[in-house]
Symmetry: C2
Subunit: 256 residues, 2 copies
């Protein structure tokens, strides 16, 4: 008999990343954990899916006593394979994605494989949480995050997500004692301004390598970027209906 | 002197696809067209960007008398390179993406490279339109679409998008005379139910190949799926703030 919740864990940094290990450790305190994660780093893959080539899925022994699989595809592919193959016929109580190495606040939700994996699970009707720590280094320290992730997972398992299905949790890179608390926020209105570094490859061809700077345009008092800058963990409840409803009437002139 | 509007054209099916050729032809009637499109098919790439490897950009002669570039990256990479390198310092008046081979109605906006390219341009403040024809075959017939695309581009160049920045246009695969008109719609609430085809690769390993069926859950009278099924072209004005605002108060219990 097993009445513990079933928790799917995935990420975009790949199954060997430190962040997913920390998340598996916390999630295991609450239920049966199954991991389906990419076999290689998939940062910035957004909501990409693999349509025109096959996918491979291999059992992994990376986490002791945890059923784990590594997948050749994107984070969203991982969730689709988890739902429709690995966990076919079973009810998934929660999907947690991360802990991402680096921020997914503001519009980064659009580019992030971590958030897209969580969003994909939410499209399947599964309560889903994406966790990100604001430190993109391989060796980021996830220990201070654990207490807060424990709190959030416990609350969501007990009380659900109140008609929303997806939350985007970002955690400042601070010692536990300096994290001031958790705030429910809106997605900050911001923008990336790209700066492409150029150089010549070994074949004499010019190449471009994307870098950029994030500009926060949001002046509201409840944006995720503001909360993070003040030392709070931000939680943005997120939807996947992109319809700009106020525009429906305004664009009637396009109809024929 | 050149006062014609500057129109950026991109897609996700690649610079050699029939759909982008049709779109370049129509866009050229209205302004100076610059094409930056992927050098290979990028369907389903969503909002993926290339962070961890370089990008290449080559001048292309594929369209006569049109400044064109093919890029090794994703559709979103193409738009970023177009804005920050190819067209650096110039004001882009409109970005059109497509014509996609296949529908991007309902939640397909999340998976679609075509729509993500248009969305990326809209994040840069550029009025943007994604066009999709409901026929995913290589040899799809884009001729009946042209009259309607002409109407939409003309209207948007003359009147703008009224505070929205992005519209998702889907066109039924019908003869021109059977297309009933154009309707402004909401994104239908639907879901993909995956079915993975499995087989054994030449190395003896099991592989999975994604297929699926779209389920429309939307009962409203103004969804894009409904309009398309009735023979109308659907236009969904789309946003990129994913915040689920009604949930902001409901989730206050998560705060500490």
């Amino acid at each position: 008999m097993n009445n513990r919740p079933l928790i799917l864990v995935t990420n975009d940094d790949g199954i060997t990343a430190k962040g997913i290990k920390a998340l598996v450790e916390v999630a295991s305190e609450f239920g049966e954990v199954v991991v389906v994660a990419p076999d290689s780093p998939q940062s910035g893959k957004g909501h990409a899916i693999t349509l025109h080539s096959p996918l491979w899925l291999h059992k992994s022994n990376i986490f002791e006593n945890i059923e784990s699989y590594e997948c050749s595809g994107t984070p969203v592919d991982c969730v689709k394979l988890a739902k429709h193959e690995v966990l076919k016929g079973r009810t998934v109580d929660l999907c947690v994605s991360g802990i991402n190495h680096g921020s997914n606040a503001s519009l980064n939700i659009l580019y992030s494989g971590t958030m897209s994996a969580a969003m994909e699970a939410s499209l399947e009707g599964i309560d889903s949480i994406g966790f990100s720590l604001m430190d993109f280094s391989y060796d980021a320290n996830f220990e201070p995050s654990k207490k807060f992730i424990r709190h959030i997972i416990k609350e969501v398992l007990e009380n659900g997500l109140q008609n929303t299905k997806l939350i985007n949790v970002n955690i400042p890179n601070l010692p536990e004692s300096e994290i001031k608390g958790i705030k429910i926020c809106k997605q900050a209105d911001g923008q990336w301004v790209e700066d492409f570094k150029t150089n010549i490859d070994p074949f004499g061809r010019k190449y471009y390598w994307m870098t950029g700077e994030f500009l926060n345009h949001d002046k509201s008092d409840n944006s995720d970027i503001l909360a993070l800058s003040e030392g709070y963990i931000s939680i943005v409840p997120s939807a996947h209906d992109l319809t700009d409803y106020p525009a429906l009437d305004k664009l009637k002139g396009l109809e024929i």
